[in-house]
């Protein structure tokens, strides 16, 4: 039997590290292997049906992929609108002014209590029946609906972010004689935005998928293009699969940046 003192401690540490690195490498290999296997199985399944129209894909894939830009554009503008609404919404939710509190609570309740699809219909189809002034093109209507909807969810996230700023910050700013408006704008809000930035990224990724709903009002984004090109030619399977894959790849890309953002925030300046 070997006593502990007989082996070199450095050697033991090295052995353990090498063994752990091996475990990690094997786990990563298994992960990639399983994904490739599942994907291969799916592709094989389609190929075996003999139904896959490769020529059609070659011809129409660029048209569908061209919707990616519209999808991303709609999402980016919508999240900007949502953040803007959420700042004011959250300000109302933490306000001691009963009117401000009531208005923003109403907004959050209304939006969270109705389906996004219904909101899109109302903004694009229903409001113009009240007055022609309210007629909007599909893309602005879609952005408005998505921004309005996500603004309500982000309001609650921002409210939590504002409340996460330590009370001492408020007191220090007040003690310096700063008026309440400046205390919020210069001290509380910048810190709250830091806290909620990863959550905004998260919402953005969810929004990429919800943005498919604006295809029903004719925004020529991914899903609309897939449907328009695939349905008449009866290449429905290919068309929707291309759209699905693009959404998937988009979320993977943005999740990657989101992860890096979260790491940066975790290191932070705090």
């Amino acid at each position: 039997m070997v006593a502990i003192g007989d082996t070199q401690p450095d050697q033991v540490v090295l052995d353990i590290e090498r063994a752990q690195a091996g475990h990690r490498r094997r786990a990563r290999l298994v992960f990639v292997g399983v994904w490739v296997a599942i994907l291969a199985a799916i592709v094989a399944a389609f190929a075996s049906t003999g139904n896959t129209d490769v020529e059609w894909i070659a011809e129409w894939a660029p048209f569908i992929l061209g919707g990616t830009g519209i999808t991303v554009l709609v999402c980016v503008l919508s999240i900007v609108l949502a953040v803007f609404l959420a700042i004011f919404g959250a300000l109302g939710r933490v306000s001691t002014n009963p009117v401000a509190f009531a208005v923003s609570s109403f907004y959050v309740s209304l939006v969270r209590g109705t389906p996004l699809l219904v909101q899109i219909y109302i903004i694009y189809f229903a409001l113009p029946t009240i007055s022609p002034v309210l007629i909007l093109d599909a893309i602005p209507a879609g952005i408005l609906a998505l921004g309005f909807n996500y603004g309500a969810y982000l309001t609650e996230i921002f409210r939590a972010g504002i409340q996460a700023v330590p009370r001492g910050q408020l007191e220090a700013a007040r003690a310096l004689g700063m008026p309440e408006r400046k205390v919020f704008r210069r001290i509380i809000l910048p810190q709250a935005i830091r806290v909620v930035t990863p959550a905004i990224g998260n919402e953005f990724i969810v929004m990429i998928k919800d943005s498919a709903l604006v295809s029903i009002i004719g925004v020529q984004e991914l899903l609309w293009r897939a449907e328009t090109s695939g349905r008449p030619a009866l290449n429905i399977l290919e068309a929707f699969f291309i759209a699905a894959i693009v959404y998937w790849v988009l979320t993977i890309i943005f999740s990657f940046f989101q992860g890096r953002l979260e790491n940066r925030m975790a290191r932070g300046d705090r």
Binding site: P166, Q169, A172, A175, L176, G177, M178, E180, Q191, R194
Partner: protein, 281 residues
């Protein structure tokens, strides 16, 4: 502002306690007055009628057990807590406690005028984490006093130099030690050129080896003629830097006087009992 309408300083409670007879030569006119302040949290009376006067260039240290109301008193002076009853006057700005209308615009504005005259230092420093040390120092002068950037920066550098941290002016608070953070906080408060500094246990959150650097800065300020009110548990510091020590218990001032009198020869039993814990550990 209302300086002329105030009663003559000699009629003030400090005189009644016998303190005014032994005022150190360097102190000037009364700059802070606390009058009959009571503070309730719910039905618990934390402050039970406080009268206190602080003169220019005077360093007043408030000592007492935790729960005696000393921190609440300090927070009532700049209205971070609204007193239930009473009044505070700093440099001619007088604010009567008005808890029922605490959110009224006019009342809030008067409170802000008080706060401009009283810098506050916190146990937890409360530096703004999203700003560098220098930005922390210029924020309020630029945003509140509308001081031009160059002038604000010049003043900030002067005070950062004074607390010995000019080389850290570009650092974010997360890169500073606790002692450095508190010294930056002191520079930040000084940049507003207040009439009085309020210190709320400024070294309680510090590791023991970092307490000294903060106390040294405070002692320099006290000897340099900065008016200050300090809530502290550092008895040695109080002895070195205080012009006057105030002992509080159960929301009242039990006794006050020069440090050697209060710390070495207290008149009241409760002061003696309190000090025994510190002097014979």
């Amino acid at each position: 502002m209302t300086e002329g309408s105030l009663p003559d300083p000699v009629d003030r409670p400090a005189r009644e306690s016998g303190y005014a007879d032994r005022l150190p030569a360097h102190v000037g006119e009364t700059i802070v007055t606390v009058e009959g302040v009571h503070k309730y949290f719910g039905d618990h009376e934390v402050l039970r009628g406080i009268d206190l006067e602080v003169r220019q260039r005077e360093a007043v240290m408030i000592i007492g057990r935790s729960g005696s109301g000393k921190t609440t008193l300090l927070r009532c002076i700049n209205f971070l807590e609204e007193p239930t009853v009473g009044a505070v006057e700093i440099d001619g700005v007088r604010v009567e406690a008005d808890p029922l209308h605490a959110r009224d615009r006019a009342h809030q504005e008067r409170i802000r005028q008080i706060r401009l005259r009283a810098g506050m230092l916190f146990q937890e420093f409360n530096l703004f984490p999203h700003m560098t040390a220098l930005a922390n120092c210029v924020e309020a002068p630029m945003q509140v006093l509308r001081t031009p950037r160059a002038e604000a920066a010049q003043r900030a550098e002067y005070y950062l130099e004074l607390v010995g941290l000019i080389d850290k002016s570009g650092e974010y608070p997360s890169r500073l030690s606790g002692g450095q953070k508190q010294r930056v906080a002191i520079a930040r408060a000084l940049c507003m050129e207040p009439k009085v500094l309020l210190f709320d246990e400024p070294t309680s959150a510090l590791d023991p080896e970092l307490i000294g650097e903060v106390l040294r800065v405070m002692e320099d300020l006290a000897h340099g003629g900065t008016t200050m009110i300090v809530v502290t548990h550092e008895m040695h510091f109080a002895r070195e830097a205080a012009d006057r020590v105030v002992f509080m218990e159960d929301g009242q001032v039990v006794e006050q006087g020069p440090p050697e009198q209060i710390l070495d020869a207290p008149r009241e039993d409760s002061t003696r009992r309190f000090l025994r814990r510190f002097l014979e550990p």
